[in-house]
Amino acid sequence: MQDPLDAVAASEARRVAVIDRCAKAVCSVMSMDSPGGGSGVIFDPAGLVLTNYHVVGQPDKGYKQPDPPDPSEEVLAKWREANKDADDEAEVKFILHWKNEWRAEHQSSGASHYKNKKVGLPDGKLYEGVVLGIDPGSDLAVIRLLPKEEGQTWPFCELGNSDALLVGETVFAMGNPFLLATDFTPTVTFGIVSGTHRYQEGQGNRMLVYPDCIQVDAPVNPGNSGGPLFNEAGEVIGINGRISIGDRGRVNVGVGFAIASNQIKNFLGDLVAGRHTEHGTLDMSAWFMTSRDGKEHKRGVFVQQTFKDSIVTEAGVGLGDEITRFNGTEVRSANQLATMVGVLPAGTWVTLRHRPTLEDGGFGDEREVTVKLTALDTGSSRDDNARLASRIDRRIAKDQILGQWLFSGIFAPTEKGAVQWLRRAPDETKNVAIADGERLRLELGRHILVSTGNGEGFARANGETRDLTLDEKERLRRERVSNPMLWLKSQTPARLKDALLLGGVHVHGAAAYRFALPGAGDCEAWFFLDGTPAGFAFRDPVRRAHVQWHVRGNKLRVVVDGDLERGWSSGKRATGEPEEQWFRRKS
């Protein structure tokens, strides 16, 4: 038998090694001009730091972005060279345009601005950090460290899977409680997971809600806010942000709460792209109820309050209806429903199963509705929808994400030839898309659009072949540049070369990134966090509408100008040698 002391020593050595590795990525986040501060953790080698919104503080209301510089003489000379017969007015216009471009490149947009932070790392160095995205709804923020030298990278810890946590599992909290460490070496505390999927109400105007948090007994104290919670493997499974307190004031009583990493992942795209994230709501309140009314046992979660024009009412859910399932999961308590809704961003499409109340007091048959979550108003978001990080920040983010995917090997060149992707339309017709390099063939039921690559193409409908209209040409181009289902995997990095991270989106129960592609038409390509395609969006010039395609497995959801088009499904995606007849025009 193994000596128990050896086992203890071995376990201790493992723990020390993990803590040693993780501690390098834990930082102190402090305000530039006032004392106090919190903690944070670097989750990306490009210097992206996760912390709490309440550590970042209030927006700097009096702040005005600095004016852009004037274009340099070289730029002007180059422009004059290119536009020899331009008048002064044109030059003024150019300068204005150049300044606007400079703004978009270097400055974040949106009304609220947050002062830069001082971020201290355990190596004793102090960095300046720019506040990118904020999530006041559930107390998160992302900061990007400004490098001291070109191409600097930072030690980092990856986000783990918080749903794999079990009560009793060992965890460590790190951070800088009470700002004890003036050299920024983190304080490590040890404990177990005391509870999972806990719902903690917010403060004030639905801000700082912890909808799906991890309860730990590892001591978490003021100053630990924003610091990471690690599992035994050293993955970040939460961000410590709140404690329940007893009678003794703001100190630990063994009940701390961490924002679960899987919730963070749902908002990661928006946070890194510098957005003001918004949480979704069903626009109703539900309660758990049990009553014995003589006829039938009522026991479950029922709609308690809603509005006449709320999304659920419009979908046919009424007062007193029983909610049985949410996104396929059985609902057992109001807490659980709040937990499941609270971790989703606004705009997420969800399915809800309910049993409508009947006039005789009973319940009708279960039915399913699909609704888009509206934004939960936190009061801070009203005028801030346009918030977005500077292009530099979004480019760095995109490069970083792409780099991770390349490193993971998901784009290894195993696919060859043309790509074919099948969709099934609501009228049961098959829609086939075949892409081969610059060539694209779209079979939309009986209507066929083909682009042969050199800007040319043809359309076939009702047995007739004709030239493409300008709108159809543009439609084909937009599908070709934005639809990642039609890209060979190995092409992805090249296709996303000039893209910028635009934000996040939730596709069929998984978080994805949205990348804005250059060119007209609001083209977006979407990818899940692991690098598999999640869908795309563009403004369709033929339908004259903005169309989104949400793809996951055989699930396909088509959203036209914000409305769901029911009945779509996705078929197989295959690669192989293209047949020339697909792109040949027959008269």
Binding site: V167, E169, I192, D217, G246, A286, R332
Partner: protein, 349 residues
């Protein structure tokens, strides 16, 4: 248009207890327990219940935890204000809610048994019982987990909170009975596994799942402004549980308790809350007279208990029986005097 967005609030109303099965435990997908701690906690959770009761005051919690001690529906918990009035409801691990009837409380231990109807329970109740004397042993530094519903974080089928720590020590509350609001005067287990409101009545377990303690209220010292987590040794509950759960007769209950008599009448000023224990009169032939107590002597100590008021003197004397000899310290003027006093039964007239 003004528009208010409603959140999905977690409002739980229990209009009536009912017993239908409400599906299985918990509904988030979870992995299987792997480590010893995880296995122990998940093995014990079905034996723990959430208790909800009435509370008259905002500062007094209306929720607690209990441990199932028989498959007949007996549940042991700390005797608290929430159990005193109104309905008491018990939530089992599967989220089902049951009305509970209150059984006999034990004032000395400060615990109470409550009972739910086992016929209304879906399946068989998984009961715990205090371990044998050998198994009930614990040592300082031994790892423990504490289970309970602190701050009412868990509702219905949600899991109770688990905290982890070590046994810090053993303490005799009799020595510090004035510092903390503890009824029990035996040895209690001190631990650093966190204990908070709502956790009371939950269990303290060793890592191999032995039930060693029942979580008590936080020991709170007003003098040092410190609080300690403590548990009542489960072993000490045994006579009580045997009597009221198994129906065994307990000897010390049958024996009539005889109050001790000292023959001292104390000087209790009207209107004063806790007057010091000044002697007003001493009966002839009483233990007090034998000791040599006189009028205006102030009793300050009996054995290890310091006496600050008449009330304290009376409560300390309750711990003794006739025939016991106690060491008494009293103050006469500026002198401090001591002596032994043999306590007596009150003579019949």
């Amino acid at each position: 248009m003004m528009r208010i967005a409603l959140t999905v609030t977690a409002l739980a109303t229990l209009l009536s207890a009912q017993t239908k099965d409400f599906g299985k435990y918990y509904s988030f997908d979870e992995r299987e327990p792997k480590t010893q701690v995880e296995r122990t906690i998940h093995g014990l959770l079905p034996s723990m219940v959430k208790i909800h009761g009435a509370s008259g005051l905002a500062t007094i919690t209306a929720y607690a935890t209990g441990i199932i001690v028989s498959d007949q529906g007996h549940i042991v918990t700390l005797d608290q204000i929430l159990l005193q009035k109104g309905r008491t409801r018990v939530v089992l691990w599967d989220g089902s809610v049951h009305d509970a009837t209150l059984l006999r409380a034990d004032d000395k231990l400060g615990v109470r048994l409550i009972k739910i109807d086992p016929k209304e329970v879906n399946g068989k109740l998984k009961a715990l019982w205090p371990p044998s004397e050998k198994q009930a042993k614990y040592r300082n530094g031994q790892f423990v987990v504490s289970l309970g519903n602190c701050f009412r974080l868990a509702e219905f089928s949600e899991k109770l909170s688990a905290t982890f720590g070590v046994v810090v020590g053993k303490a005799n509350t009799a020595l510090r009975y004035r510092m903390a609001d503890v009824k029990y005067d035996g040895d209690i287990i001190l631990t650093d596994a966190c204990n908070n409101p709502g956790h009371y009545g939950g269990g303290l377990f060793t890592l191999d799942g032995r039930w060693i303690g029942l979580n008590m209220k936080l020991l709170d010292s007003k003098e040092t402004n410190t609080m300690l987590s403590a548990a009542l040794p489960s072993r000490d509950l045994l006579p009580y549980l045997e009597e009221y759960v198994l129906g065994k007769k307990r000897e010390d209950v049958i024996k009539k308790v005889v109050p001790v008599w000292t023959g001292i009448t104390l000087f209790e000023q009207a209107g004063r809350k806790s007057p010091p224990a000044y002697v007003e009169r001493v009966k002839r032939g009483s233990p007090g007279r034998k000791l040599g107590l006189r009028i205006d002597d102030m009793i300050v100590r009996i054995d290890d208990f310091s006496i600050r008021s008449c009330k304290e003197l009376r409560s300390v004397l309750k711990k003794y029986k006739p025939g016991d000899t106690v060491k008494v310290m009293w103050k006469r003027g500026t002198k401090v005097m001591t002596g032994d006093m043999e306590l007596m039964e009150k003579p019949k007239r």
